[in-house]
Structures are given as C-alpha cells and as structure tokens.
C-alpha cells in the first residue's frame, strides 16, 4: 500500500489533526458501558474464592436466593460451558475446583448492586483447601500438584500450541536455528544469567464491565467494554454453541484496555445471569479489587539466557529458556509464550539459537495479553543481559548492541531475511543514545553530581516487536457515502484511546481527496452492522485497517466514477475529482457533484441510475506462515517495529533512591500518520513501562492470596512520577506494505523502558539488578549485594496493608 508519495504532496497524512473523539470525552458526554443502563436492567455480583486451590464441596444458595430483589443465582455446577482462546480450559464459574484466589464460584443478579452484593455474600461455599502450586518454577517439579489434571482432554489449536498432559505445561514453544553447540565451542566468552519479573495489572481506568440480554429464541445482545467485538462474539458462540448471527456485540467508548480487554471477559457471566433471570438485561461491572484478581493480569516470567560471544564481540550462539507463569488458565499466555519465543533474542542477529519457552499453570490469577505481549517482560531480561554481557567482555554496551543488531541481510530467529524496508534499529539506538548524551556526563550533570552527592547514570535499551496474530489475520472497512457527499466509515477495529480512528480518518480523507470534515468514523462498534475485524491487539490495527481503508476508499471512488462516467458520458479514465465533484480532466467545467450521485443519480426525466455509493476494502495479512513446531522456522511477522529508549537516572548511592531525569524514545514507525498521536502513544506507553519498572507488581502470601489488590498498595505512576524531560522521535523507514508506509507503535513504547532504567542505574552505581520492578529497596540491596527480597510470594504477609480484608478476616478466624 506504500505509494511513493512525497510528504509534501500529502494533505493530511503526516500532519497533526485533532482527535475525532475529543469533544465528547472532554465534556463527559461520551457514553462508556459503565455509564449505560438498559430498561429493566439487573445488577450482578460474584462470590469469589478465598483460596488459591480448593475442592468445592457444597454451595448453598438458598439464603441468597430468598433475599429481596434477587432475580437469579447461578453456580458453576449448573453451567457446562468452557472458554479459551487457544486452550479451552476455563469454566465461566469454577466447577468442582477453584484454581486461583478471587476466582468466581457463583453469581447473583438482583434489582440493585447492593442487593446482588448482599446475596452473593450470603452464598455459602464449603471448600476443602488443597495445596496450591504458586511459583511457576515449583510447578515444573515432578511432584507438583496439577492445576489441570485433565489437560490432555482439552480442545486446543494443535497446529500452533503444544500442551503437555500430565504436567503443568500449557504450551511448549521450541525454536532451533544453526548449531549452538558449535557456536558456544567457538566462543571466547560464555555468559549465563537469569532475569525475572512478577505479574502486574493493566489498570484500565474503566474496569471490565458488560451488559448482556439473553432474549427469547436465544437472541443475545451484549454491550461491553472490550477491545475486540468479533472475538467476543466468536468465543461466546463457541462456548454456548450458538449460531453467530444470534449474537450481537456492541462496543461504545472504552476506558482503556491495554490488552486486558483483548479477548472475552465478563460477558458470559452477565449473559448466563440474564438467561437465568428470564431475559432481563444484566450488568456486571468489576470493582477495582476484582479487576486485580477476578480478571486476568500479565504473566510473571523467569528468563534464562546463555550467550556465547566471539573475540570480535559478535554473538555466536545463544540459548534462551523462558518460563511463563500462566496462572490458572492459559488464555493469551500460551500465545504470549509463542510470540515471545520467536522474538526472544530482541533486534539482534543470532547465528545459532535455541529457544524453549514454557507456559506454566499455577494457582494464581491468570495471565493474558498486556501491551507488548510478553516483550516488556523478556526485553527486561534480554536488554539487561546485553548490558551484562557487554560489561563481562569489556565492551561498551551500546557498541555491543550495534555490533550485533539486525541489519538488511540478517536472518532472524525464524529464518526471515531483514530487508532495507524492515526498519533501522541502529538508527533508533544511536538517536536515543545521542539524545541522552550517552557515555559521558555533561558539565551541568557533573556539577549536579558534585552538588547532590548523587550519581548520574545513562542507559540505552533497544527493542523490537512484530504483531502476534494468526497468519491469516483479516479485517474489512466499509465507507458509505451520505446524501450530501460526506462519508461515514465503519470498521470493527476499536479505538479505546489509541487514536487509530483519527489516523484512519486522515488516511481515508487523503485517499478520497476529501476535506477531513467530510469523513466520519463511526465510533460504536456493532457486530451486526460493522464488517469483520479479528481483534484490536498486536499493534496491527493501523497497518491492516489502514490498508483496508485505502482499498475501501478506492472502491468507493471507482463506484462513484462509474456512475459519473455515465452521467458525464465519458470514459472513466478521463475523470478526476475534488472534494465535492467529479469532473472531466480535459474540461473541468463538465462535472457532477458527489451529492448528486451519492444515493443514486436521477436524470431530469426522473430515470435513476447507480444507487447508494459505498466502498468495501478487505485486507488479510499476507505471506505469513505457521511456525514449524520443532524448529520454530517460518514467517510470523507482518512487520517489525524497532525502537530504543535512552534514560538518564540520578541515584542516591547510599539509599537506592533514584529519579528518572530524562527519557528519550525513538521508534521506526515507517511513517507517522499523525505525529501527535504517535507522540501520545510513545509517551503513554513509556510511562506505563516506567510503572512496570518502578513500582508495580502482584504480591502474594504463601497461601496464594493476593496482598495488594488495590491502588493503596499497587501504585501506578502519577503526574509527579514522569521524568522532567521527555523526548519522542521517529525514524521513518517506510513499510512497503503499510498504509503510506506506516507500521504500528502502540505497544512498543512500553517495551525496554525497565531495562533502560536498570542499565542507567547500573551505569550510575554499579548496582546489578536482574529482577524488576526496581524499588528503592531493590536498588539498595543490589548496591550492598544483599540477598534480593523475593516478596512476590511472601511468607511474611502481615502488615499495615489495609487492602487485604480477606487476610485480616482469616487471621481473626485462625
């Protein structure tokens, strides 16, 4: 889709244009599902497990059902539907056994939320607690309890995933390239280290919420705060064995997603309650606490890397083993494992590589997609590793990265050849390094060090990511011309804040040659009325839907030209158009207005021709293939977006307290369709990456109870936490098959921020940190070479933490 259009010839693409959704969001008029009510609507509440693993002996709902306002009570016992994107392993409500703290075991619908809550609390569940398996490394032991003893009988997508029945391994992704044994033997140095990070929450400001109405004739209508209307519908229909045309999914404005709303969430629960309540609509909205443990999180990771380097500083061989903590269900985690597996070496050329990536079940809230899809976590390990290897061999870390970076002609882990158009990671690294003055302290910085007694350090970390999606991922865009010659665009890619719609409007206006005001992107998505889109994930939206939009615009113009050619009695090839009319090139005064043909042209005598003008654009990812399950070879990547962050950090060498003074992020986006939106994605993701790096993470006690399911003890960055200086830049190496050369950048901004910070802190103080987040205490411990605290599963759960009422109650009881 990349035509060689010079930037100066473009009217809208590459230029700032206001967000199409700003006004309604600024005034509070935008309606989110949490704001919506449907006549007669009931409210739902769930009863959740206080145990990480337990057998359900008995559920007594009689008291709950008799409470005022209660219209329906359901338990897992009466539901036999299993859900799962890739491995079908999860019941809507736990059945027989609970597998994580906070899992739903029963649910109530009542007239008011308070009534539903009281009724849910009145449900009596008798459990027989079972020993949970909490740490993913423990789950690999041969005597570990099995989270899913029936794994062998679950449906799964066998072409792509490999569960290991009889173990806790939900998937094993393998990749082999070249001869690693030989590579290590020829290496001058071999460095092997392990890196890790805990589970974290996405924290969309709007928690998961859905309204479902299960009407007569099994006609189901759903309004949901989700990212992917068609995936909600598809998985819903699979679980309930309903024809797809029975189910209609609406997605209005969405208060953030970040991957946590990529698949199916609370919709089935609301739907079964609605069915049980005789077809009344039911709304379920997760509380913030439920968001942390009823709904999924990001998987924890342990990443072991062994690298062999030759005398010339080039990597000769690398062995990579990833242990992904899936939690109780596989959900997206198996695919995170797969996508991380084939990207595991980052933007570097590794001649001989072996990768084993495992998705491991544990009795914890389950992992799902989260901005970066595994790449935030493994780049933490990888880019710290590159730093530590460089230090071990006595080379500057940036130089070591450059020397090994992927370049045109390089072969990726899966055997793909990098071309001139893939993007330029070295340019990104260099620009990030330059922006932070890598390698030296400026006179002001040196003076600041003297004045404060703190140490200033600089770090750079690079990154890459390709969309993780099925090889045949598809989308469509429909553009409809209105009576006045303006157009309305329908697509089922959702815009939950990324600004994709604003960019797509620019693309459509550009291709149509219409002013922006004439192009409207319809905001609410509706599976009954919008054309298909797979999912709004993977940073593929702009590329695939942008291409489809271009095709739709061209199709619309072709249709309009066909009618105009008749009206003007001319050959289509002689026509041209502007924002309002189609005219003859050689005689521009001869023209017909779009408004005249928009819904059918009428001759003076009343005869009609044409009919409503619309354009359809269909696009499917091309040339991608499933990976060989033994060797991992194949072509998984639609496009690779490269990037790098540079960080300047100031560290107190005594206490470990630190501050990020500056960050510079650079991505090769192919072309920035809307610079301010690219910048918004760049900064927003970077700050989310800082949250992961600095303070976020789940902390469990040794029974598997989540100790910090709230903002009181799971902090996220505030306005005060952002660096004083933030710079964003782009490299523009056009993506040949991207719309106007563009590629995605939505997730990339979050990747490698933590590693850049770790590298900067090490540069400042020598502290060698291999676990994130980097709390001040972690830095302090690293500085003193004290044993790191592993409080992610802790034996000392006591404290002033007010966010774990369950814990408090338990203490009282015991």
């Amino acid at each position: 889709m990349f035509d060689q259009v010079r930037p100066e010839d473009l009217a809208f693409v590459g230029k700032d244009s206001g967000r199409i959704d700003a006004t309604e969001k600024l005034t509070g008029e935008a309606l989110y599902v949490s704001d919506m009510t449907v006549p007669g609507m009931l409210h739902a509440a769930v009863k959740r497990s206080p145990h990480a693993r337990a057998r359900i002996l008995r559920i007594d709902t009689s008291k709950a059902a008799a409470l005022p306002g209660v219209r329906a009570v359901v338990t897992g016992a009466e539901l036999d539907y299993r859900l799962g994107l890739y491995v079908v392993d999860k019941y809507i409500l736990a059945k027989g056994e609970v597998r994580h703290y906070g899992e739903a075991v029963a649910a109530v619908a009542a007239e008011t939320y308070a009534q539903a809550r009281r009724a849910a609390d009145a449900i009596i569940v008798e459990y027989e607690p079972l020993p949970p398996v909490l740490h993913h490394m423990d789950a690999l032991k041969t005597d570990a309890p099995l989270v899913h003893p029936d794994l062998g009988s679950y449906d799964h997508i066998a072409a792509v995933f490999t569960p290991k029945p009889g173990t806790n391994i939900a998937n094993h992704t393998r990749l082999r390239k070249g001869d690693t044994e030989k590579g290590f033997a020829e290496s001058e140095w071999v460095v092997e280290r392990e890196y890790s990070c805990p589970s974290v929450q996405h924290v969309p400001m709007e928690t998961h919420v859905a309204i479902a109405k299960w009407a007569r004739g099994d006609q189901v209508e759903i309004w949901t705060s989700a990212q992917s209307p068609f995936t909600v519908r598809n998985l819903f229909c699979h679980a309930f064995k309903l024809p797809h045309n029975n189910v209609r999914v609406h997605i209005p404005y969405v208060g953030g997603g970040f991957g946590g709303k990529a698949g199916i969430g609370v919709e089935p629960l609301a739907a079964v309650l609605s069915r049980a309540a005789g077809g009344k609509a039911v709304k379920f909205q997760a509380t913030r606490e439920e968001e942390f443990s009823l709904l999924p999180c990001r998987s924890a990771l342990t990443y072991r890397i062994k690298t062999g380097v030759g005398a010339d500083g080039k990597i000769k061989a690398q062995e990579m083993t990833m242990y992904w903590d899936s939690g109780a269900y596989a959900d997206y985690a198996v695919n995170v494992t797969r996508a991380s597996g084939y990207s595991a070496a980052g933007p570097y050329e590794i001649p001989a590589a072996s990768i084993d990536a495992y998705t491991i079940y544990t009795n914890k809230p389950f992992g799902t997609a989260y901005r970066g899809f595994g790449h935030v976590e493994f780049h933490w390990g990888l880019e710290r590793h590159m730093e530590l290897v460089a230090k071990a061999i006595g080379m500057d870390p940036l130089e070591f990265r450059r020397r090994n970076a992927l370049r045109p002609g390089s072969i990726t882990l899966t055997g793909e050849k990098i071309t001139d158009h893939t993007g330029d990671v070295v340019k990104c690294m260099n620009a990030a390094a330059e922006a932070v003055g890598y390698g030296t302290l400026s006179p002001e910085e040196a003076e600041r060090e003297r004045r404060t007694g703190r140490k200033i350090g600089k770090g750079v970390a690079a990154l890459h990511k390709a969309p993780a999606m099925p090889s045949f991922t598809a989308t469509a865009v429909v553009i409809k011309m209105n009576e006045d010659g303006s157009v309305t665009v329908n697509l089922a890619l959702t815009d939950y804040g990324q600004g994709t719609y604003t960019s797509i409007r620019q693309i459509v206006a550009e291709r149509l040659g219409f002013p922006l005001e004439k192009v409207k992107i319809s905001f609410e998505c509706d599976t009954d009325k919008d054309p298909y889109d797979w999912q709004t994930v993977a940073s593929k939206g702009l590329l695939l839907s942008g291409n489809a939009a271009i095709l739709a615009a061209e199709d619309l113009l072709a249709n309009a030209y066909e009618v105009a050619a008749q009206v003007l009695r001319a050959n289509v090839r002689d026509l041209d158009h502007d924002g309002t009319r189609i005219f003859l090139r050689h005689n521009p005064d001869e023209s017909v207005e779009f408004a005249k043909i928009a819904v059918g042209y009428a001759y003076p005598n009343g005869n009609g021709i044409g009919g409503p003008i619309l354009g359809v654009g269909r696009y499917v990812a091309q040339g991608l293939s499933n990976l060989n399950k033994e060797t991992g070879q194949g072509n998984p990547a639609l496009d690779w977006t490269y990037g790098a962050h540079g960080i300047v950090a100031e560290v107190d060498p005594e206490t470990g307290e630190y501050e990020v003074l500056k960050i510079a992020s650079v991505f090769d986006v192919g072309r920035a369709i809307n610079p301010q939106i690219v910048r918004g994605q760049s900064i927003g993701g970077m700050v989310q990456g800082l949250g992961t790096a600095v303070c976020e993470g789940y902390i469990y006690d040794d029974k598997g109870i989540l100790l910090n399911p709230s903002f009181t003890d799971n902090k996220i960055p505030t306005a005060k936490d952002i660096p004083e200086v933030i710079e964003s830049a782009v490299v523009e190496t056009p993506q040949i098959d991207g719309p106007y050369g563009a590629r995605g950048v939505g997730e990339h901004s979050m990747i490698s921020v933590a590693a850049a910070l770790g590298n900067a802190i090490q540069d400042a103080t020598g502290a060698e940190i291999v676990h994130m987040p980097l709390r001040f205490e972690d830095v302090w411990r690293a500085l003193r070479e004290k044993t790191p605290i592993d409080n992610w599963i802790t034996k000392s759960p006591l404290g002033s933490c007010r966010s774990a009422p369950e814990l408090r109650n338990r203490k009282k009881d015991g």
Partner: protein, 272 residues
C-alpha cells in the same frame, strides 16, 4: 455502598455527644470521610450510625492566640492548614507534613482530627503534633479531658479514646510556635502515597526531637536528644525506640536503614 447505616448531622456539640453516648461503638464520627468511607466500602467498618461532625459551628475554627496557642477545630481540613498563613509561618512543621499527605482532592476533605483518630502508624499529621507538644481535647457527655499526643496512640488504629468520646479540638501550645524542623517521607512513587517510613526531625527547648512513622505500631516520638550528637548517635537512640515490621510495602531492615539515612540527611538541615 452496600452496608446500610443511618446518617445524623447534629448542629451542636451537645447534640453530637448525646448521639455518641447513645449509640456507643455502633456510631462512627464522620469528618472528611477519607478513611471512614473507604473502610465502610470494604466492610472493615460497619457502623449503624454515621455522625457527621462538620455541621457544628465551631468545626472549622482555626485560630492562634499567644495565650491559647493554636486551636485546630475538629473539622479543619489538611488544605485549610496549608492555606492558613499563621500556620505556615509559625507552625511550619504542620504545613510541611500536611503537604505530604495524600492528594489535593483528599486534602480538601481530610481533617487533621480524622487523621489522628484514625491512628494509622503511617499518619503524616501525628509527627508534627508529637513534636509540637500538641494535645487532644476529648469531649463526651460527662465532660472534657485533655490528652497529650504522647499518650494518645496505643496501637495500630487504636487510641486512648473511649466509646462516646469525640475529638473536639487539637491544641498546639503557643510555646511550640516557630519550632523548626524537617520532614522526610519514603514513598513508592513520587505522587501521593502512604509513607513507607517517615522521619520528622525538629528542634525543641529540651533538645532535638525525632518523630517516626510506619516504624512501630504507633507513631513514635523520641525527645530530649542532645543536640550536639552526631547523626549516628541520634540514629542509635531512635533505633531503640522503633520496632518496624516486614510488609508488602517494605522490609523492616530497609525501614530501619532509611530511618538512619533520613536522620543523616535531615540533621545538618535542622542544626543549621
């Protein structure tokens, strides 16, 4: 909210005290609500009566006189403390701690009285009140008593207050005016957060004072420290008085270390 209660908004102190007397432990005073309402929402507090104290005419009184010192009415918010010129100029320790407490919206609502009655080990306002020899005026139907903040806190979320008692006012003696000091609070983010550990170091006529939060079941005051001691010696004294624990926010070990680090950081500033 799910929990149901009856709301009362008495307009005079006797009326309020009578309600508290009548309902005893089933009543909770509602000041700014920034502790109470989240606690009710989470089922940690389940009062049958919520008695709003903000409609008492004297609630927002914040006055200073050389004879009576600073009188902080029970409804005085953290923001009101920050806005008050006399407080800023003559009781800067109060202002400094107030500035560290929560976010702007919370400060607009949260009261000083609520902060101390809540008696969290991480209370920000307890530290200056301890350093300034402040007292709590506790009222009940049977009369008033005055308790020094040194005796006020008895454990995590526990105070000397008896059922039926109301914190009517906080008094800071005039003699404590112009006391100088510095406050350091360790947080997990630079934005609003409860203190992981906090140290307020101040000079007083009887020597240096160190007030420490989140390092023991209650806020801790160490007073009468010889002002000529070096940081290490001051730290040694303070370490004896604290009893930090491990929790999700931090380890006891790092808490102890940071108390020392803050003392080393603040001492030169206070001695200047």
């Amino acid at each position: 909210m799910v929990h149901e209660f009856q709301y009362r908004a008495p307009s005079s102190r006797p009326e309020l005290l009578a309600l508290l007397q009548e309902h005893g432990t089933s009543a909770k005073v509602l000041a700014g609500g920034t502790d109470l309402l989240p606690n009710i929402r989470m089922g940690i507090a389940k009062p049958a009566y919520v008695v709003d104290c903000k409609r008492l005419p004297e609630a927002d009184r914040l006055v200073f006189s050389p004879s009576e010192g600073l009188r902080i009415g029970h409804g005085v918010t953290i923001s009101a403390i920050l806005r008050d010129r006399t407080v800023r100029e003559r009781f800067p320790l109060l202002a400094e701690a107030a500035h560290e407490l929560a976010s702007h919206q919370v400060r607009n609502r949260a009261t000083v009285a609520g902060n101390v009655v809540n008696a969290s080990p991480c209370s920000d306002m307890a530290l200056p009140l301890l350093c300034l020899d402040a007292e709590a005026v506790l009222a009940s139907v049977s009369g008033e008593r005055t308790v020094s903040f040194r005796e006020f806190f008895t454990g995590p979320k526990a105070t000397v207050m008896k059922p039926g008692e109301f914190l009517a006012e906080i008094r800071v003696p005039a003699a404590a005016a112009d006391r100088k000091g510095r406050y350091a609070k360790l947080k997990r983010v630079k934005g609003h957060d409860l203190g992981i550990v906090g140290v307020l170091l101040a000079s007083a006529p009887d020597g240096l004072r160190a007030a420490v939060s989140s390092a023991a079941p209650t806020p801790v005051l160490v007073s009468g420290i010889d002002a000529s001691l070096d940081a290490q010696a001051v730290d040694a004294l303070v370490q004896k008085a604290i009893k930090p624990i491990d929790d999700v926010r931090c380890t006891a070990e790092y808490r102890r270390y940071m108390v020392g680090a803050f003392i080393r950081r603040l001492l030169p500033e206070v001695n200047r």
